[in-house]
Symmetry: C2
Subunit: 217 residues, 2 copies
């Protein structure tokens, strides 16, 4: 069974929990509160020198970091991974886009506006940049989704899960998706997949059948 170090309210951690749930893969989640410094202890830094969650134990004492690398790992050989070489690369293209165009803006805005008390006052200037670049990233996504149901391979893949992580909390950090109808339809499309769970869902119980928990969420 996978052992996942994760923070409940982190979009990057949620991506992995969502993928594992869609795959009906049982796992054990260990909560790490980065806001209380729990990812900066000597013990945690020995597992991940970058001091970040999520972190997946892939073998005794062997740890994989970076949410999108973890997604790629757990999805290997499953329906969430594209089959052809070019479609795999296209899924990765969107996952790298997510990490440099979406996450540093929507993710940062979400962190400071939603998780850190008084964060808005601390980040007034940065917030302007995040909004501008975040909206530019959302426009690229909107244009792509105007003629497509998913980001790669005409099917739900890890690329969608990576992008869903922070896009679905856009309204919690000042972004307005009113002028992005294709993105809103895509969010709903993902949420209709069997096994979908919300970011609030906790995996502590009934990990063998997370879909049943999701249905009640």
């Amino acid at each position: 069974m996978y052992k996942l170090y994760s923070m409940q309210r982190s979009g990057n951690s949620y991506k992995v929990r969502l993928a594992l749930s869609l795959l009906k893969a049982p796992y054990c989640a260990i909560e790490v509160d980065i806001l209380r410094g729990e990812s900066r202890t000597p013990d945690f830094l020995a597992m991940n020198p970058s001091g970040q969650v999520p972190l997946l134990e892939v073998a005794e004492g062997r740890y994989l970091a970076e949410s999108n690398a973890i997604l790629w790992y757990v999805a290997g050989g499953t329906s969430l991974a594209p089959e052809s070489r070019v479609e795999r690369a296209e899924a990765l293209q969107w996952m790298f886009f997510e990490q440099h165009a979406l996450e540093p803006n929507l993710g940062a805005a979400y962190f400071w506006l939603s998780l850190v008390k008084g964060g808005r006052d601390l980040q007034t200037h940065a917030l302007e940049d995040w909004m501008e670049r975040g909206y530019a990233a959302l426009q690229v996504m909107e244009n792509h989704l105007k003629t497509r149901a998913y980001f790669a391979a005409d099917q739900l893949t890890v690329a969608d899960i990576a992008l869903y992580g922070y896009t679905h909390v856009a309204d919690r950090c000042d972004f307005d998706l009113a002028t992005f109808p294709a993105i809103r339809a895509w969010l709903r499309r993902i949420e209709q997949n069997p096994g979908f769970v919300t970011m609030d869902w906790r995996p502590d119980a009934e990990v063998d059948d997370p879909a049943s928990v999701a249905a009640g969420a």
Copy 2:
């Protein structure tokens, strides 16, 4: 033959040219000067809505963006790609690290200090952040390389090429690698591989045997 849209002085573009050269893969390079707006023309945006290089034509009218996704694509099935599932994920881990921890800091500093005339004065405040975060990323790399020759799978992989792209120009944008001996040894190790080419090397001629050009560079 691959058709690559690339900018000579872009570290992200160089990554792909370096990989193709190491693989002895012939390709045709089309220079796109982003400083002159050549990646923002309607024709270019039709190929890549993100308006960025590098961009690889993988089939007639089908284009792959994001330097690290392109690296993954061209390295598929070659010696630059790890063989096992966990090692492939570990290589991706470092490639995602590169895109969110190294490239936004060293890449941004390199762009504004090395490529944009008067850029230093325009980015005084941002530069402080880039230096702090860039050094933190370099320290994570240094610690990893203290006991390892390469980043993943005990061999030269696309993870090393991704990280080499901007690390090797650190000294052109105020970063001092004097206290990072493991990184300096790793840079030299990469440069000793057959087929290695510098960022200045132009692929216009003799693309069938780039190694011979590199030897004379």
